[in-house]
């Protein structure tokens, strides 16, 4: 190859390739630092004293190092109730949602389903049209789910997008497997649970991951359907806590001094760290499924 010398059994890179490699690594290291630094900054602020944090200027290390902020955070019941609600909603929503999505997608993947195309069209329709905030709010109120944690779960349970992804995967499973099971006397439900689901573990894991992240990040449902602050999701608790009251008032057109002092910058930072930590711990173990999920998004056949 041009520019390369062979010395012994090793292929040596040219000068140009070495320079490119150095620049490449430098670029990506800088990119990583740029992405990591905001989070590092938040951690440093959370470990600094409130008066130093208010002045700003915390760069690489905390000023007046203290853990007292975390002590305050863990004494606040808001963060616990937020975690409880979010974990409750995420776990139940993920399990139920993934199962129901699979149950919905499987029959839709069969050509022999009567009215299948119409049903598929209806599923697609919901991806394009939505009744809007007020009709959804009225629906939840009228069915008695207002201020109930299940109002955070049920409206988002089955996503049309996930349905389509699963349907595409189920269609890729050879029909011969089902036929041979049917010959042996299995009915549709038995085939679904004993053959289809075990073969779909990767897809189910991916859909479960997407669903879990969706529930974890959901904020709007709390705004619409929850009244009691002890049922707020973690995102709503954080958003409430992180709002700079004075700036928010001015943005909302209110030009008076906020009577209530804003939460200390350190409290906000510590809450961000505490709320993000579970995701940071879990993500390395599920990262490969995210990557696979991006690929699975392509509709096949």
């Amino acid at each position: 190859m041009m520019g390369r010398k062979v010395k012994g059994t090793a292929i040596q890179s040219s000068v140009g390739e070495k320079i490119f490699t150095v620049l490449n690594y430098t670029f990506f290291i800088v990119l990583c630092l740029v992405m990591l630094y905001p989070f590092w900054h938040v951690i440093m602020v959370s470990l600094s004293s409130p008066s130093q944090a208010l002045r700003g200027g915390i760069f690489l290390l905390p000023k007046d190092f203290t853990f007292s902020t975390y002590v305050s955070v863990f004494q606040s019941k808001d963060i616990y109730s937020g975690f409880y609600t979010t974990i409750f909603v995420s776990v139940i929503g993920t399990v139920l949602g993934t199962f129901l999505t699979a149950l919905t997608a499987y029959p839709l993947s069969k050509d022999r389903l009567r009215g299948g195309k119409v049903l598929m069209f209806l599923v697609l329709f919901t991806m394009i049209f939505n009744a809007g905030m007020i009709p959804n709010y009225l629906l939840i109120k009228n069915i008695g789910l207002y201020d109930n944690r299940f109002a955070l779960i049920l409206p988002l349970l089955v996503s049309a997008y996930n349905c389509i992804i699963m349907k595409s995967f189920f269609r890729s499973i050879p029909e011969s497997l089902e036929e041979s099971a049917r010959i042996d006397g299995a009915n549709d439900m038995r085939i679904f649970f004993s053959i289809i689901l075990p073969l779909s573990k990767a897809t189910i894991a991916t859909i479960a991951l997407f669903t879990a992240v969706m529930y974890w990040n959901d904020y709007l449902s709390t705004v619409l359907y929850i009244q009691s602050s002890d049922k707020w999701s973690l995102q709503a608790v954080l958003r409430n806590m992180l709002t700079n009251t004075q700036q928010a008032m001015q943005s909302a057109g209110v030009n008076v001094r906020a009577q209530q002092n804003t939460n200390a910058e350190t409290i906000k930072a510590a809450n961000i760290v505490v709320a993000t930590l579970p995701i940071l711990i879990i993500y390395p173990f599920v990262q490969k499924y995210f990557v696979k999920g991006v690929m699975i998004g392509g509709v096949k056949g």
Partner: protein, 557 residues
């Protein structure tokens, strides 16, 4: 098959159109509200069946005056609120429940960004809270009023008078802005700023270091700013100080120059001695103000980031400048911002000074509006509006208010030498972690008189002085009774304000100059300013007559 798909698509589209109207049905749940508005007189039966009257036995339009602490039947009351203490079952909440024999249920609105959406949902959803709190929702208020969702509390307000008397003591015009043309009141002022809550601050230590006197004129102030920028006032040998600093991207920071010229303003409508309405950012005085500020900025006497949206408290805590126009409340020793500043600048000493005399020879502080920025109302969902108003008014009496806001003396705070010393401050973590409930119902009636005990006597005096020194300026600024009625302004406001902000900050930053003022005015006119002013003049004339009639007839006073 293709034809059947077409038919299905048409049917679905038709169903979608029909479902749009389904959301309009309120389910008739508001039909329990008396049609044509629920007023005090309709609830007289509640008075007859209740126990208690006051000692004087005054007979009021509603019958006997009720004693809100003497009811035997427990009443459920829901409050929709956003600020202040928001946890349920706090010590303060339980105290109020026991005192008034009520069950309090708090509906916490989800923050400044989404709070108004939630308020709309609550009012439209047919299951309203008994007390609803809101801000800047003039159009929606009109709709709620027209739909009879709010109770007219005017008779109650003139019977149970803590709230009324407080507002009339502070500013008789406050209730004018809450009162309808027929004297009814559907919205109760929740928070009204002090007549003026800002003043001029200066670094006394820098003045002493440079042997300078406190400035009394705008020229002296500019000279002090020059010295603070160029003469190393902190003596550290570095060129790191500025004359003026403060809240970035906010023209209040330049108030000394704004008040220096008649009818100059960066935001509001003005009215001159002849009653002619103008738009502050388009007045000649504003042009002069801009020229002055731009010159100072170009000389480097103002912090460079003043043209960017910065956090006022953070800027103040950081320091680095010697003059600012900011909150009188910084004078309180427990001001977190000042504490942060002192930690980094132990020798630093901010002192409030009188406003400097400008070109017009009439130094004025920045006046706040007489109208409330937040209101609350009793909805028609309330089973006994008079009882609710009576108990809430009782809560707003001076002693009860202090207990609700600050707690019990000796337990939550002490008063030593006239100074408030919090044992547990309303804004502290302990208030939340111990679920005490201090500052419950914040902005559903806040006192700024002797009930605001966290102000030191000096700070209270500073507020009073600032308020008194802002009255001429207040008289030259227009305050609208119903901003939603300025339809031309509502339509053109966004475009006009965007152009105004762009031009004014460009001039300050040096990208443009006041030489292009005529072009700027032509642009504003092209965006509809002339139509806005014509409509504004008409509405102002009407409202000025209404105000005069209100004051003469002593309505709600």
């Amino acid at each position: 098959m293709k034809k059947s798909k077409q038919i299905i698509s048409l049917v679905l589209a038709l169903m979608l159109c029909i479902s749009v109207f389904a959301g309009c049905d309120n389910g008739g749940t508001t039909s329990s509200a008396a049609s044509g508005g629920t007023s005090a007189a309709d609830n007289s039966s509640a008075v007859d069946s209740s126990t208690g009257g006051d000692e004087s036995g005054d007979v009021t339009p509603t019958g006997e005056k009720v004693d809100p602490t003497a009811y035997e039947e427990t009443m459920d009351v829901t409050f929709a609120l956003m600020t202040g203490f928001t946890q349920s079952d706090s010590r303060v909440e339980k105290m109020l429940e026991e005192k008034y024999n009520i069950n309090i249920d708090l509906i916490v609105l989800p923050g400044w960004t989404d709070g108004q959406s939630k308020i709309n949902l609550l009012m439209a959803g047919g299951d309203m809270p008994d007390v609803i709190w809101w801000w800047s929702m003039d159009n929606e208020f009109l709709q709620w009023k027209d739909a009879d969702l709010l109770v007219d509390v005017s008779d109650y307000m003139n019977t149970y008078t803590n709230i009324r008397d407080y507002y009339n003591k502070m500013d008789t015009k406050t209730l004018f802005y809450a009162t309808e043309d027929d004297g009814s009141i559907y919205r109760i002022p929740g928070d009204v700023a002090e007549p003026s809550c800002e003043c001029l601050w200066i670094r006394q230590d820098w003045l002493d270091n440079l042997s300078l006197e406190v400035p009394t004129t705008i020229e002296e102030l500019e000279e002090v700013m020059r010295a603070f920028t160029e003469d190393d006032p902190d003596g550290n040998g570095q060129n790191d100080t500025y004359g003026l600093g403060g809240d970035g991207y906010d023209f209040r920071t330049f108030w000394p120059w704004v008040q220096s010229y008649d009818y100059a303003h960066y935001d509001r409508f003005t009215v001159d001695a002849d009653g002619t309405v103008g738009y502050g950012p388009a007045n000649e005085g504003t042009k002069n103000m801009l020229a002055d500020v731009a010159e100072l900025y170009s000389k480097g006497y103002i912090t460079p980031n003043i043209t960017q949206d910065t956090d006022r408290d953070e800027e103040m805590a950081n320091g680095g400048f010697g003059v600012t126009y900011s909150w009188c409340a910084y004078n309180n020793p427990d001001s977190q911002t000042m504490k942060s500043f002192k930690d980094a600048n132990p020798e630093g000493n901010w002192v409030p000074i009188d406003m400097v005399v400008g070109a017009n020879g009439n130094p004025q502080e920045d006046p706040a509006t007489s109208a409330a920025w937040a209101y609350f109302g009793i909805t028609t969902a309330c089973e006994d509006p008079e009882r609710l108003y009576a108990l809430y008014d009782d809560m707003c009496g001076l002693e009860n208010y202090i207990e609700r806001r600050y707690g019990v003396e000796g337990e939550d705070y002490t008063i030593e030498g006239g100074l408030y010393n919090p044992i547990i401050a309303p804004e502290s973590d302990e208030n939340n972690t111990q679920n005490i409930g201090l500052n419950l119902f914040n902005n559903l009636f806040n006192r700024k008189d002797e009930g605001l005990i966290y102000n030191t006597p000096e700070t209270t005096a500073l507020f009073a002085k600032s308020g008194a020194a802002s009255r001429d300026q207040a008289a030259a600024l227009v305050e609208w009774r119903n901003p939603a009625s300025l339809t031309a302004w509502v339509e053109s406001r966004t475009d006009i304000e965007d152009e105004k902000n762009r031009y004014m900050w460009s001039v300050v930053g040096g990208e443009e100059s006041v030489d292009s003022w005529d072009t700027y005015i032509a642009t504003l006119n092209g965006l509809g300013l002339e139509d806005v002013l014509a409509e504004a003049q008409e509405i102002y004339n009407t409202e000025a007559g209404q105000l005069e009639e209100y004051m003469n007839n002593k309505v709600n006073q």
